[in-house]
Symmetry: C2
């Protein structure tokens, strides 16, 4: 299988550097967790690698395989200045980062119940900087669908949007965001909403841009994106969201892309590994042991291994949500056979 | 219209820096040439800008408009170290660039007849570095569909692919590539082929990866990509190609993305402005005056304004070319109402 050969080449190239943990490998190759897990097991059976106390290394046979198959390290090609995102925190964004850091220091801790997890502070700023570059925050009304990251606050801090509205299922976050908005007089408001229910007229067709970080199941994404799409005014409006390769295979990406096109959107950007979820206690790290992958390995993370790609989409037709009415969805909204880093 | 507001915001933000030419603007906003042209004309009518001897600047009314609409410069957010591509020329790629520079110094000049144009030398290396990062060049058979850029030579110089095959309609390029391959004993061969005709069994289903820079009309891209797709072995195989926002609107991108999905591919990466076509005599610059935009403006380029996004696609189903058999296409293969930088 071509796909396995490719990922194998990515993994073996890494192991030429020296021994690695599973987590070291995950964030430097392109397959999703169950695939990586299966592939490493297969490589162990083929005696290309040895796994000892959570450390993975090449065997002599593995080294020979690399030679035979032209697998070599040509050196690092990822830009360190921007962590390969292409975006740096320049100009006024430096000041905004300092403000945001102070604010985020007091935010509610991520909880398992809502499968929360924060992208890095710098990552949030870069996401907003990218939106700025596209002309998507100047004088616009922006909808943030789920806001563990407090991205709505950063958007408002730029002083550019006409209005920012954030929704979340978690009341703690809503109170926190509204508190900051009042304290600083920002054009920002937040309210609780469960995305299983449709929006009212205060949200529907009221926004130019949406931002969200959906759950990673196909029904979950269909629902999240549909709701956000229903918030857009019309043609030319844009959406931003994160999607991982960690919990979503290329087949799942394909289903999602078809969905996006069916809703009337062109994909204008897919920026691989744009955002990283740091594995510290305050973010995901607090309930890491509930993840299938952590249970399977019996080993907790030793690095920031969870990352997502940034998608930008733009309506070329009248935006058409694929889900309408109340969604009757249970656990399949959050979990499928690839979501090995989501509480079950 | 939301789209016009967004592009206007991008343009006016730039003009806050000072006066610009049309070309200065083109490469720092997201609309295609006829759209940019129409929008600037409209802004001139609205007296937001003045155009004098090819220089565009904000009027007092334009400045007031920026203030009212919250259009400001927040500073540069594009990484200078990698020119916002995320990729740097590190490790062995530095040596490969030096070799490639020497080789490319003697290459045939771009000609109008085939709508040729070279991406920058550094850009070619970065494209290959990105492919390397994905595991797409290690021990693979790679097909290059049209090779003005001599990318096939760079791929072979890495010493990684099992085999590289380049085709082009231009005999001068084929002779040049084969000459280099023989001289250096590279696993590389080139032959002439007109993509209007199907490939024979020596190409069909023989490759793991393709790379191409298609013309920018929908029928042209349908044909180019179909032919390249027919060269792939099956599921998991990948393709790379460039697509511009300069000659293709978001609507055209939408048609193309639908086509890609219909052929069985997921889009895994869209990296905006990944490659630049330098406007020097040896590249496009030699027949610049044949471009519609240059005729319309009566003004030649003053900067490297023509760039393309890099797409990576991967087959999640058996690859299915949409065009089969000989294609009977005339000028509509090369030119549509958006291709204002293509000889007519």
């Amino acid at each position: 299988m071509r796909y396995e050969e490719r990922i194998k080449a990515q993994i073996m190239r890494l192991l030429l550097e020296g021994e690695k943990t599973f987590y070291d490998i995950v964030h430097r190759q392109d397959s999703c967790l169950p695939e990586t897990f299966a592939l490493l097991s297969e490589m162990e059976k083929e005696k290309l690698i040895e796994i000892d106390a959570g450390k993975i290394k090449l065997t002599a046979a593995g080294l020979a395989f690399c030679k035979e198959n032209n697998i070599r390290e040509l050196g690092n090609v990822l830009c360190e200045a921007c962590e390969a995102t292409g975006i740096v925190i320049g100009g006024e964004f430096k000041k905004i980062l300092e403000e945001y850091k102070k604010i985020a220091a007091n935010r509610p801790k991520a909880v398992e119940e809502y499968d929360q997890g924060f992208i890095s502070l710098e990552g949030v700023i870069k996401r907003v900087a990218f939106m700025y570059e596209r002309g998507d925050i100047q004088n616009t009304e922006i909808f943030v669908g789920g806001d563990d990251d407090l991205l709505s606050i950063v958007l408002a801090l730029t002083g550019m949007p006409k209005r920012v509205v954030a929704i979340d299922i978690d009341e703690r976050l809503i109170d926190f965001i509204n508190g900051i908005a009042n304290e600083r007089g920002l054009p920002l408001e937040a309210f609780t909403h469960d995305l299983r229910y449709e929006f009212g007229d205060n949200v529907r067709k009221r926004f130019d841009v949406f931002v969200t970080d959906p759950v990673e199941t196909v029904p979950g994404i269909r629902l999240f994106i549909s709701r956000c799409v229903s918030a857009l005014k019309g043609i030319g409006c844009a959406g931003y969201f994160g999607l991982t390769t960690v919990e979503s295979s290329r087949k799942k990406w394909y289903e999602i892309e078809r969905m996006l096109l069916d809703m009337g959107f062109v994909i204008t950007d897919i920026r691989r590994k744009f955002n990283v979820y740091p594995f510290v206690e305050e973010s995901h790290g607090g309930f890491e042991e509930t993840f299938k992958i952590v249970k399977k390995l019996g080993q907790k993370a030793n690095c920031d291994w969870y990352h997502s790609a940034l998608f930008r989409i733009e309506a070329v037709k009248e935006p058409k949500p694929l889900v309408k009415g109340t969604a009757e969805l249970g656990p399949e909204l959050y979990v499928d056979e690839e979501t090995w880093a989501t509480p079950e």
